[in-house]
């Protein structure tokens, strides 16, 4: 069969790429955010287009939203992107910009993470829409992700409100076909001075709150007629109200049902929902995570079932939705020839937790902190993986920037038995590590702050930040130097260290811990996978010399594995030349000097 040529109007885009495309087609002129899985690729995609829009990484989500509010007030359509927990950081601004309203469109993307693929929780940000009384749109495939940007812009400007566009990990990271439209030049409305609206002193805020409620009433009327909500007529035995990715799963497993697919999640079209309820014999809500729709329906007196069949925990899938319909008696129960025990045993025994990369500059500092018996307060980043065996050095991880403040509290409230060390990455330090460092200094804490500066935002795939000297488009910009910043704040003990030099890390951290006051240690090696993959000559183990002491295994390096040769009850080791990047730390640690550099790289033959 002949290959058909690609029509230029259709492309395979992820949800994130589709949102970026939607932004371009709808004249977004300002786009900003902070990297966070699963939202990161939206701005990365926008930055790749050579257009006249402004794209930037902000140091955190609140700053991003502030920039976004400014952009909208200046009269430019604006997009602000973040992961679900990022909206917590930006919530202060969000709750009040809901009062002031916008001038040009302000679309805020919240990318939620049901199933906690790469986050610290699985909060359902649809609840923010109710809290702030602003509209929330939820697409269910890449095409809708693009189309809903247009709808969000129009609603934002028509109703003078910020609009939330909610994605989930599955939507953001699923590629689907998208019809492309022309890229629109961004219009600029211009700034308009309006003190009563834009200055939230109490006298204005009271008036604005009333306007918010009026706006909500108008939005509710709009919701009844909006094409964002779609009634798909099917059998009247069962009616399903659903949205987002759950809609696809419902269509897959129960194609004959009547479906009310909601694209506008807040406010709900209650009259339409009542009509739909009346048209079917049994009504079910299928929604991922919290019963946001279900509870509002129940409050409105509509008899509906939902969370008793469809779990409130974790991500949905066709099989989980199928099980829900089986539990509800809508689908017949499955034959009982399955062997769940066997499947479970496989899953439990095949553990392959994510690990720090071979040669990761974070490994040695954690190895040393464990030796120093430090109470290590972790933060959000790749280094969270130092919680797993064998490093097992981190004792807490909560949210972005928490480490330093928590360290202050652990020291002030503690018994002084163990040194308290906060460990935080460079990007996280810029995000929200500076105010707590000020707190530590201001309140005279006795803690050590270890800043693991690998000169990138590694966990999310290697984004630039204020300390890398480059912006999102890769252009050279001013570098904010962490050491200078700490000294300027008044930290007396600031030391840099090469994290591959095991002895130096030991000495430096020990002296920092012994300092009476706030001490800061900053590591200085770049991430081994971004912006470029670093690889030098790999190392190998001389099996005769290895005495199976397991010191190198304490690094948790994925390139070092056991052989089947046992020496005094312990496995000898070998190095996987396919993945070793040649950092030489294991060779430094090896007491029998069994680890040596290979003469050439066996993974790559000269062609």
């Amino acid at each position: 069969m002949a290959t058909t040529t690609l029509t230029p109007a259709k492309e395979l885009l992820s949800g994130n790429e589709a949102i970026a495309r939607g932004a371009l087609e709808n004249g977004i002129r300002v786009a900003t955010g902070y990297p966070g899985t699963p939202s990161t690729e939206i701005l990365e995609t926008l930055a790749r287009y050579d257009a006249e829009h402004y794209v930037s990484w902000s140091p955190n989500e609140k700053v991003a939203l502030d920039v976004g509010v400014g952009g909208a007030l200046a009269g430019s359509r604006t997009l602000v992107t973040m992961k679900h927990v990022g909206l917590n950081v930006a919530a202060d601004t969000l709750m009040s910009v809901a009062y002031t309203g916008v001038r040009a469109a302000l679309v805020i993307v919240t990318a939620d993470d049901p199933g906690v693929h790469s986050s610290q929780n699985e909060q359902d940000n649809r609840i923010y829409a109710r809290f702030a009384e602003i509209p929330l749109l939820e697409p269910s495939d890449s095409q809708e992700a693009k189309d809903f940007v247009q709808q969000a812009c129009e609603i934002s400007e028509r109703f003078d409100t910020p609009v939330l566009l909610r994605s989930t990990t599955r939507l953001s990271h699923t590629k689907g076909m998208v019809s492309l439209g022309p890229i629109a030049p961004p219009p600029v409305l211009g700034y308009e001075r309006n003190l009563a609206k834009n200055v939230l002193v109490p006298s204005n805020a009271r008036v604005r709150h009333e306007k918010v409620l009026e706006r909500s009433a108008r939005l509710r009327e709009f919701a009844e007629e909006s094409s964002l909500n779609r009634w798909e007529r099917g059998s009247n035995a069962v009616g399903v109200i659903t949205s987002g990715m759950a809609y696809q799963y419902v269509k897959e497993v129960l194609p004959e049902a009547s479906i009310l697919k909601l694209g506008l999640i807040h406010p709900l079209p209650l009259d339409l929902l009542r009509k739909f309820a009346a048209s079917v014999q049994r009504l079910l809500v299928v929604e991922e995570l919290e019963p946001v729709i279900e509870e509002q329906l129940k409050a409105a007196g509509i008899a509906v079932e939902g969370k008793e069949f469809f779990p409130r925990l974790g991500e949905f899938s066709p099989e989980r939705v199928r099980q829900g319909f089986q539990k509800a008696g809508v689908l017949p129960s499955p034959p009982k020839n399955m062997e769940p025990e066997k499947g479970l045993a496989v899953q439990e025994n095949l553990f392959r937790p994510p690990a720090l990369c071979p040669g990761c500059p974070h490994s040695v500092p954690y190895l040393v902190l464990k030796k120093l018996n430090a109470l290590v307060v972790g933060d959000i980043g790749c280094y969270t993986l130092a919680v797993y065996e064998p490093l097992a050095a981190i004792e807490t991880t909560l949210a972005m920037g928490c480490s330093i403040g928590m360290a202050v509290g652990l020291q002030k409230g503690g018994d002084g038995a163990r040194p308290i060390v906060a460990t935080i990455g460079d990007s996280t330090f810029f995000h929200s590590g500076i105010p707590p460092l000020i707190d530590a200094l201001y309140n005279n804490a006795r803690i050590t702050v270890l800043i693991l500066d690998n000169q990138t935002t590694a966990m999310t795939g290697g984004q630039e930040h204020a300390g890398t000297g480059k912006n999102i488009r890769g252009e050279k910009v001013r570098t904010i130097e962490i050491a200078k910043l700490c000294k300027a704040l008044g930290v007396e003990h600031v030391q840099g260290v090469d994290p591959y030099d095991v002895a130096a890390v030991f000495r430096t951290l020990k002296s920092a811990i012994n300092h009476d006051g706030v001490s800061v240690v900053i590591t200085n090696r770049p991430c081994v996978v971004s912006p470029v993959t670093i690889r030098t000559t790999p190392y190998a183990v001389n099996g005769k010399e290895c005495d199976a002491c397991q010191i190198c295994m304490n690094l948790g390096c994925p390139a070092i594995v056991w052989t089947e040769e046992i020496h005094q009850g312990q496995h000898k080791v070998t190095i996987d030349a396919r993945t070793c990047m040649g950092c030489a730390v294991c060779a430094l640690l090896c007491p029998t000097e069994a680890i040596v550099a290979l003469a050439n790289d066996p993974a790559r033959r000269a062609v």
Binding site: P38, S118, T174, K175, W562, Q568, G569
Partner: protein, 282 residues
């Protein structure tokens, strides 16, 4: 309603093996044929040496982006244990294509009890064959290495996949050329054709073996006794720093002291490296 012709291909492996590029190429092939395609994967933390997967579904209409267990037509596994992990997604009449080179995770090498086994399943082969009709094993990595670059492994595997999909070699090669760096296009082309020409069965079939995970050996009879002669110790800290099990600590008088003898693995480093002969492991 969904067309019954929807095809499901699950591509799995370990972070860094090129799973996502491989599934992108398959997506491009499907798109070229005018099919609807959905391709679902997860990025972020999971990629750091962890499990990587990509669901690819194509046909005239595709709804769910993920594949239901027991319905995948093909499982393309870049690693044997990953083939086992995802095997429940494959139809009994489906096909598993698996690279035989293992990636043993660091987590599998941590049990420090005497004579503990690597926590990596044995008997994967038989377990796969008992569930799925068509199991195609081959050493894609060595094939890639012989072509000049291990990183071509994903393209070699796509070559093997192309034998069970409906698309022509030309369609695949066009998609590959579009997706890889121009510098590596020729090498990728050769890797694809090498994978495509593999005939199965080809790898040496291992002995039939029941699926087992780790088997515990008898626990050690007695805990080691670490003796530190305090009057010989001058507090140089060498033994404390070198102990892989953190059994030793420096005490208040800056002398070495045993803190956790029960975790000692008898590596003897403290005894051998003590410059003052102050430490003995019994």
């Amino acid at each position: 309603m969904e067309s019954p012709a929807t095809q499901n291909v699950l591509i799995v492996g370990v972070g860094g093996q090129g799973v996502l590029l491989a599934s992108d190429i398959l997506g491009t092939v499907c798109l070229g044929r005018g099919y609807q395609v959905k391709k679902s994967e997860v990025h972020g933390m999971a990629k750091r040496g962890g499990v990587v997967y990509s669901h690819v579904r194509y046909g005239t209409q595709v709804l769910s982006p993920t594949i239901e267990p027991g319905t995948s037509d093909v499982l393309l596994a870049f690693e044997p244990a990953e083939a086992l992990r995802w095997s429940k997604y494959v139809k009994p009449t489906g096909t598993v294509i698996v690279n035989t080179q293992k990636r043993i995770p660091p987590a599998a090498c941590q049990d420090r009890r005497p004579d503990a086994l690597t926590r990596y399943p044995r008997g994967i082969e038989q377990a796969l064959r008992s569930q799925i009709e068509d199991v195609r094993r081959f050493d894609a990595e060595t094939l890639a290495f012989e072509l000049g670059d291990l990183r071509m492994c994903n393209t070699v595997l796509l070559g093997a996949l192309s034998r069970v999909c409906e698309f022509s070699a030309e369609e695949w090669l066009a998609a590959i050329e579009k997706s890889v760096k121009p510098r590596t296009a020729e090498l990728n082309r050769r890797a694809f054709l090498a994978g495509r020409s593999v005939e199965f069965p080809c790898a040496e079939e291992p002995q039939a073996e029941e699926l087992v995970f780790e088997k515990r050996e008898a626990a050690r009879d007695e805990a080691p006794f670490i003796e530190i002669r305090q009057n010989w110790c001058k507090g140089c800290e060498i033994c404390v720093r070198v102990c892989p099990q953190n059994c030793l600590v420096m005490n208040g008088s800056k002398l070495a002291e045993v803190a956790k003898a029960e975790t000692c693995i008898r590596c003897m480093l403290c005894e051998w490296l003590c410059p003052d002969l102050a430490v003995s492991v019994h």
